[in-house]
Amino acid sequence: MAPIYNTSRHLKALYISPLFVALVCLAFCSRLSRMKAASICTNSQTGCHFLSLANLFDRVIHHSARMHGISNDLHSEFELYFLPSKNRVSRNCHTSTILTPNGKENAQRIAREELTEVILKLLLAWRDPLWHFHQNMARHHKFNNLSSNKSLEMSEMVHELRKGVQKVAEKMQMLGIISNSLGTLGSREALLASDSPEWRLMNDYNLLYCFRRDSNKIQNYLKILKCRIVPEHGC
């Protein structure tokens, strides 16, 4: 009797496990859909979670901090394993054409719209170079797995962060904090920057160095913007 009993149990397990898996999938999918609904939230849609501007700012600031951390790690690793020559090549970051405030007073003096625009420009300018950088690393196996994952994550983060900052800008425009002159300007200049072939001339080390600096700029500008617009939360 015992073997029969066991087989029946096995059969039961066979029948039950797909059901179980299906249930789990349903639960997950519902959650995912809910999350997606929350993330793809336009102004007119109902049922969205209302995120305050301060909350949005916190999210993008965290995002940019993480992006800067990854770029810092990659740069240190590159400096460790691929020692550049002592005679350092002058760094010509392709984003040097974008005018950015290089001091506190300058950053505080600049208008909010301009600051937001600078951020967006920077983010857009780095989208393609990072993608190619990751492709380059992956193809030539120059990095180990961990670093290769980081480069991929870095390139994706630039993409995500740009969208996030766009959301913040839209919200600010909706709230009347900034004027609506933002959209067109940023894209034009950014397109120019991304089209310039300068970034292809950069070697890997320069690229990482430049991006590390630019991600720091982005993070700092976002903080300044937040403390200027919504100063009550942690400034």
Binding site: N72, N102, K104, Q108, R213, I224
Partner: protein
Amino acid sequence: MMRNVGGVIVLSLLLVFVQLAAGESFSPPGTPKNIICRSPEKETFTCWWEPGSDGGLPTTYALYYRKENSDTVYECPDYKTAGKNSCFFNKNDTSIWVTYNITVVATNALGRAFSDPVEIDVVYIVMPNPPEEVTVTVIEDTNWPFLRVSWEPPEKADTRSGWITLIYELRIKLENEDEWEVHPAGQQKVFNIFSLRPDSTYHVQVRCKPDHGFWSEWSGTTFVKVPDYFPRERSMWILIAVFAAFIILTFTFIWLSYMKIHNLKHYVLPPVPGPKIKGFDKKALKNGKFEDIFSSLVVSDFPPTTSNYEDFIVENLEVFVPEEQELIMEDSKDLQDDSIKSENSTCDNDSGRGSCDSHTLLIDKGGGDKEEALQSDQEGSQDERVPTSPEEVMEEDLLACCDEKNSPDISEKVKFTPSLISPLPRYNLMNQPNPPEIGKKHCLSDSLLNPDSLPSYFTQPPSTKNDFRSNPWECNFNHKQHPLHPQTTGKEHLQVQNEISWVHVDRTEASLGVQAPSVRSTEYVEVQRVSGGNMVLLHPVSAGQENSGTMSHQTEHYSRVKTVNNDSGLLLLQKESTGEEMGICLSEEEVESRATSNGYTASITPTSEKPMVGINSTLPILDDRMASGYVDTATMFGLPTY
């Protein structure tokens, strides 16, 4: 003119020669080293360098820098503000996110020295000042005070505008300790510290760091004194109470397991003492023989003929063997008496049963020297053994051991378990027939005794002085009933020691043949308990021995012990010795008591474990002594053999 120039040249040459003569040498300066640049607020920065050897000549230092992607060389704008060998860049000269290429040049009369260039970006060299306004307060709202530490960011660092983000860290230690306890505090400016030691002083320090930069120096120490408080933690007391209760319960269980239930029952609920009237025969009352009853009330020796009122002292069990009784005992061998009652020294005639029974009343004489057997009564002759099935069998078993050693008369086996022996000053021993009886636990338990069952066990001597046949176990046998019955003038002091199982029997008895009631000699009967807890080996000690006990035994007595009842009554019948020395049966199951010429019988009631105990003395009972009491072997302890 020429002279001036020449003088200068001569002077310089002299200088050189003098210095050369003095042993010094001039050289170009050494290269400056360790250029360190720091910015306190990410708006200005300062660079310091270490000068090399100056080569013996006055050396000047200059700092030159280039900005990123520019070849323009600038010199340090400010050598003074930051002290010696430093260069301070103010706000106008500082650009963030711009790489500076800095070089320090040392110059003296003989040459120049260039330091290694250093590339810095101000963003990554930020080292703020320590946090300011560190305040520590003791919050005493609850029973458990705690510390609240609060601080402010350094004044120069602009965190309000979001230009710099600082994270903090604090550390604390007791005043007399060396180790600091470090707590990261994130971006908050308030921190609580709990679990303080009362009545002690703490040192607190705070420092900060920008998200990419260096830690600041620790702030100045802030001292705080925690007041003395007594923590009233309810849960702690509950825990202590539970733990103590657990320990107490454990010990109680251990104690209970050692105590036998029987003893515990007696300890908690002492039995109610029954009435004890000396010489009163309840059985006779039931039988309706008034003359017997009243005759029993007449105590021959009441008022006591002897002057030994110490007999009534509970201290010892004394067996009186008056002269005439002894003679009678010798003469009437067929007289048998049973009923030995030996009581604990603390028992007397009037004491309740419980006091007799309580094992705590057993006296510990503390000496191994004293081995005394209690023999209180005469013993029945074996001839009169009436076979009774279970008891007889028991007796047979008991007797089996000693057969070879003893004369048939002597083979007695006394088996009893530890019990109390309550001495009585006087008792009449009644001869009982041989079959051992189950010792009765208590003297006057009429209910225990079934008078109907008795007759089968007893054969009264034809002299029928055994009017007590029906109740041989009466405690208060009146030996007046048997005027012919010999009575022991000796007093037996029976002292049973608990656990050591010493039975001390002090017997003072008159010497044989010369019967002055006042003359008494103490005889000791040693009860040896071989082992097993149920056997008592009676080994009488020769007269003259004191209670202090010597080991010499000149005479040995055999006594017959009859068990009284199921409840561990053991009746030792004292037998008159024939003068022979009988081997003492040392088997573990046997206890022999040998009767001396006086013939003592001791009744010892065994415990309930061995309901059947019986000793039959082989010697005829010469005494008619009746134990007014008997040994209650409720708790009988083994007596060591010797």
